[in-house]
């Protein structure tokens, strides 16, 4: 399978190459920060981004779901880019999302962008979800909680070898807690060197970088200079930009 297995607080998890998290023991698939309709949200303000981000994300979800056949699917928050995003879906996209929501039990963790997903999607809506050794929530908690799995931060890292570098989304984990990469087609990213991410981890942590066909392990702490990147239209939002731009 296209994924990397890791242990988190005693649970065996698979980091899927798509950026989703697969929990085989519970047949549960987790997507974080899908940010549906981010494109149209920018179009409303005059930036006509290609209106294909939602279908791209839905198609990718469909493929991962088909691969794992989960019993439970979780959105770890910010499934919709803003409160009205669901209203802007067109008929095809609405149908696609409906189909996805009917094939499994859905758990919607509320995020800062989507306090309440639309009721027609069904499923359970919670702020936090505990199962086995794991705690799922959108934003990482202020206090350390073993087994916490969060999203919200959109982690990314830059890998540099022989003068060439690649910037990719990644999972970040240290055996006790984990942050998931954003799944959305237009979702920006935050670099590991940003305190918002590395301050979550007390000691060493690993970055698991999303490649085309597999997940690669990369250095986490101690490599901040190569991971460093400030907000730019070429890269992704800084912490500050994320809070102001991506908050409703």
């Amino acid at each position: 399978m296209e994924g990397t297995e890791i242990d988190l607080n005693g649970e065996r998890l698979v980091l899927d190459v798509s950026g989703a998290l697969w929990w085989p023991a519970r047949a549960m698939l987790v997507f974080s920060d899908i940010h549906l309709e981010k494109g149209s949200s920018f179009a409303m303000r005059g930036q006509m981004l290609p209106p294909y981000d939602t279908r791209t994300a839905l198609k990718r979800m469909q493929a991962v779901i088909a691969r794992h056949a989960p019993k439970t699917i979780m959105s770890l928050g910010d499934a919709f880019h803003d409160r009205d995003a669901a209203e802007r879906l067109d008929a095809d996209e609405r149908a696609m999302l409906s189909r996805l929501s009917q094939g499994a039990d859905w758990i919607w963790i509320t995020g800062n962008h989507d306090p309440a997903p639309p009721s027609w999607l069904g499923g359970e809506i919670v702020e936090e979800y505990r199962l086995g050794g794991l705690v799922f929530r959108h934003e990482p908690g202020v206090f350390f909680l073993p087994g916490e799995i969060a999203g919200h931060l959109h982690p990314c890292t830059t890998v540099t070898m022989r003068g060439r570098s690649l910037r990719r989304r990644c999972f970040v984990a240290d055996g006790a807690r984990m942050v998931l990469p954003a799944f959305g087609a237009y979702a920006g990213g935050l670099d590991l060197w940003e305190p918002a991410i590395h301050a979550l981890f007390q000691g060493a942590f690993g970055a698991y970088v999303l490649g085309q066909t597999r997940v690669y392990a990369a250095k986490g702490r101690g490599d901040y200079h190569s991971a460093r990147r400030k907000a730019s239209d070429d890269s992704q939002p800084s912490r500050m930009a994320m809070n102001t731009v991506e908050s409703p």
Partner: protein, 831 residues
């Protein structure tokens, strides 16, 4: 030079007296311009530097303005903008304004002259729109802003003349596209105005005249032929490399002999290195300064004013000083490295000596063997008065999108009329109506096949069928985004205060491309702003550095200033190489090098492409010599390695320079059908597949998306406020390419890349030219001609783009690090 007496009748008394008082006589071309202006004709003046070109451009306007009836006292002047001057450099606009003030003041003319640049205060800019000066000096970007303003029709209705300075540097570029569209608008707003183009010597003035919308050609008197010498040693000429370290003592001698020298190099990195080398030898402490685009503006201004005062003996500089303010004192130009083009060489030589009757003095310093050939070819071309013709670009659709939005910002436009106006601009003469409509649609709603954004449209149709902006915010966005220069993201380089922690503030030395800084680890050293610096770390948005004396400094590998060898010069070099009877002009080592090549392999004839294959070490090599410039070779390298991969040759990498491309692989490539390997069809699917993931291409997309207004421009410091809309343009590219590969913006990107970063146009011409004219040689070892290309392999980073391989490599090195058992850990293990 004395003009004929009857000509001076063209000059009003006041002007003739002014010339006489200064002991000058008007030059023939100055009078010719007055004559044409009196007939209301537009003129392109082609003249070398130092011919009083700028004054010639303004004289008719000054004469016309001097004839106006005086304003009656007490009456508020109904003054209107008379002459608009446009320069590619704002510094030049300011300088020309200053130089124009002198004759105006000395003749006591009631003429108001003002500049308008990005530095002009908002209140003054506002006032200029309602109470314009008689003569306004500005840049193409400011013109775009002016014509997009509501006041444009009134501001320009009485415009009499437009003066376009350094037109040769503008007309065939994206900025030229923007300017051409602006000029087309001016022709609509003020149909009676005339245009004066001022240009350095060009191979073909026709495209410049077309750009101006038509006109007469006036040639200034040619100056004395320059004296060009080539520094070449009969004992040693380096095989490869781009810093002529071997020649630095001679360069310093040349600086000593002259009053003031400009030392041109081709890249910022080379500027740094050359500056270092010169100072290592400069025991006399000659005042030698450094000037390039990454230095802090204050630093550059300091060097420029020291130069103006005559305090400097030499400035090491890049193309930043190709154009600009005249420095009378410069009497010697030294060009280190390849001249790249004959026109560029003429331009640079022209920076020395602004008196026409004296020959300019120039010294060419080749830094390797191929450059010796290039220097000789360039000198021959200049002495024969032959210059490179330029491939004419087609107007960018991204620039057009910007202009369409600007037009709507001024007042609602009629699509038919705007189309007619746009196609009157020469870069857009062949624009189809269909493409124009697509661009309008793009500006309005993004132009997607999936019509999702109609309700958010930026442009809407009025009941009369005109297009207007839907919201004042749109006009505001336009103003923030105007212009076609998109800089790489840059990072401030700050000098860390001694004994203070990183991030505690420090003087800004300049800026470097973010991608370069990203590759530095604390402790790495590099040369910047003439100092060897040690990277200490990042803090907020700046890189902190300290001074150090590491002799093995890594040097910034900026992209800045890497223009390719011109097609014209490449042609001459190829011809020179093909004729052994001309080799005697070369220094002995070069001559010997070519003779051995002739004996060991073959000297390709013009029109042929030589491909050599040979083993070396544990690898197999394929080296070809298209002489088409680094960019085209790099693209060729990308495409060939793809093909070789498919042919199971197991290619490992390639390196490209201006003349050759070397590919190495695990398998012997000698048995391949080279005609098939180099077939033009590589520009089909292979190119397409590569473009999907090419970083160079994605960067081009980002630039086009910004210019077209899809993505907002990023302003220095602004991102810190967090208001900046941020997302990755790469993600946008991926999604758009997947869902709408024919989208107008992707076409704009392709057209841009084809003549820009990827040089596909040139590659395609080359592949067509060498078709069935490929000469192959299978050798048992490396050929003399291949040596420079192979030597660059160790020096240059393996050209190519970051691939997923590096993720795997990084992972492997991480594992190796983790698993390594060295002595220390063994000891620890035992304890």
């Amino acid at each position: 030079m004395l003009a004929r007496a009857e000509d001076t009748s063209l000059l009003p008394q006041r002007f003739a007296a002014w010339f006489a008082a200064r002991g000058w006589a008007p030059r023939a071309h100055q009078l010719a311009l007055i004559e044409h202006a009196m007939r209301g004709e537009s003129v392109l003046l082609v003249a070398p530097t130092g011919g009083g070109k700028t004054l010639a451009g303004f004289l008719p306007s000054l004469i016309d303005l001097a004839r106006r009836p005086p304003r009656r006292p007490g009456m508020p002047g109904q003054r209107a903008l008379h002459t608009l001057y446009i320069s590619p450099l704002k510094a030049l606009a300011v300088d020309v304004a200053r130089n124009l003030e002198a004759p105006v003041a000395e003749m006591g003319l009631p003429i108001r002259i003002e500049t308008r640049t990005g530095d002009t205060s908002a209140s003054k800019r506002q006032r200029q729109k309602t109470l314009p000066p008689d003569i306004l000096l500005t840049t193409p970007e400011q013109l775009a802003l002016l014509i997009a303003s509501r006041e444009a029709p009134r501001l320009f209705e009485n415009l009499k003349a437009v003066v376009l300075d350094e037109l040769h540097a503008l007309y065939n570029s994206k900025r030229g596209d923007l300017l051409a569209l602006g000029l087309a608008r001016l022709r609509t707003l003020a149909p009676a105005h005339r245009t004066v183009g001022l240009s350095a010597t060009v191979a073909d003035p026709k495209p410049l005249i077309d750009f101006m919308g038509g006109g007469e050609l006036v040639r200034g008197l040619a100056g004395a032929a320059p004296r060009i010498s080539i520094l070449a040693s009969d004992t040693y000429v380096p095989w490869a490399g781009h810093i002529a370290r071997y020649a630095m003592a001679d360069v310093l001698e040349a600086i000593k002999r002259a009053k003031t020298s400009l030392v041109f190099v081709n890249t910022r990195a080379n500027a740094e290195r050359t500056f270092q080398e010169l100072w290592r030898l400069n025991t006399d402490n000659l005042a030698i300064a450094l000037h390039h685009g990454s230095l802090a503006p204050a630093q550059r201004r300091k060097v420029e004013s020291a130069m103006t005062r005559g305090d400097l003996r030499a400035v090491v500089c890049t193309s930043t000083l190709d154009l600009g303010i005249d420095w009378g004192a410069v009497d010697n130009v030294i060009c280190i490295g390849a001249p790249k083009g004959a026109a560029r060489l003429v331009q640079r030589i022209g920076r020395a000596n602004h008196r026409l009757d004296e020959p300019s003095q120039a010294l060419l310093v080749p830094s390797n063997r191929f450059e010796v050939l290039e220097c000789e070819a360039a000198r021959d071309a200049v002495m024969a008065n032959e210059l490179d013709g330029e491939r004419l670009r087609v107007g960018g659709l991204d620039v057009l999108a910007q202009h369409v939005l600007g037009s709507a910002c001024s007042k609602p436009f009629d699509a038919d009329k705007l189309f007619a106006e746009v196609t009157s601009a020469s870069p857009y003469a062949h624009l189809s109506r269909e493409d124009f409509d697509k661009v309008v649609d793009f500006v309005a709603t993004g132009g997607y096949a999936l019509k999702r954004y109609d309700r958010y449209a930026r442009l809407r149709k009025t009941p009369e069928g005109k297009w207007r902006v839907s919201h004042p915010r749109v006009a505001q966005q336009y103003r923030m985004n105007v212009g076609v220069i998109v800089e790489d993201p840059m990072i401030d380089i700050r000098l860390q205060a001694k004994g203070r922690p990183t991030g505690a503030g420090g003087r800004v030395l300049g800026q470097m491309e973010e991608y370069f800084v990203e590759q530095l680890a604390p402790g790495d050293t590099f040369v910047f702003a003439g100092d060897v610096l040690r990277f200490e770390g990042m803090h907020e948005d700046a890189a902190y550095v300290s001074r150090t004396h590491d002799p093995e400094a890594q040097v910034p590998s900026y992209n800045g200033g890497k223009f390719p060898l011109s097609t014209f010069l490449a042609q001459r070099v190829r011809e020179m190489v093909s004729k052994p009877e001309t080799w005697h002009v070369f220094p002995d080592p070069v001559n010997e090098w070519l003779r051995i090549q002739e004996w060991r392999s073959v000297i390709p004839q013009p029109g042929q492409l030589l491909v050599e294959t040979f083993p070396r070490g544990s690898k197999e090599y394929l080296v070809c010599y298209p002489f088409e410039g680094r960019l085209a070779h790099q693209t060729l390298g990308m495409l060939l390695t793809r093909r070789l991969e498919r042919l199971r040759m197991r290619p490992l990498g390639f390196s490209a320079n201006e003349y050759a491309l070397a590919i190495w692989a695990l398998r012997d490539m000698g048995g391949l059908n080279m005609d098939r390997l180099f077939d033009e069809d590589m520009l089909g699917d292979d190119l397409d597949a590569w473009l999907a993931e090419s970083n160079l291409y994605k960067r081009t997309f980002r630039n086009c998306a910004i210019i077209a207004g899809l993505i907002e421009r990023r302003f220095p410091g602004k991102e810190k406020t967090g208001r900046q809309v941020t997302f990755s343009s790469d993600l946008i590219y991926d999604v758009l390419r997947e869902h709408e590969p024919d989208h107008i913006l992707l076409r704009a990107t392709y057209e841009d890349a084809a003549t820009g970063l990827l040089d596909i146009a040139r590659l395609s011409e080359m592949l067509a030219r060498v078709k069935s004219r490929i000469v192959t040689r299978r050798l048992d070892r490396v050929s003399p001609l291949a040596v420079p290309a192979l030597l660059e392999i160790s020096k240059e980073m393996v050209a190519g783009e970051a691939h997923e391989d590096i993720l795997r490599e990084a992972e492997e090195s991480l594992i190796a690090d983790a698993m390594r058992i060295d002595e220390k850990s063994c000891e620890r293990g035992r304890n």
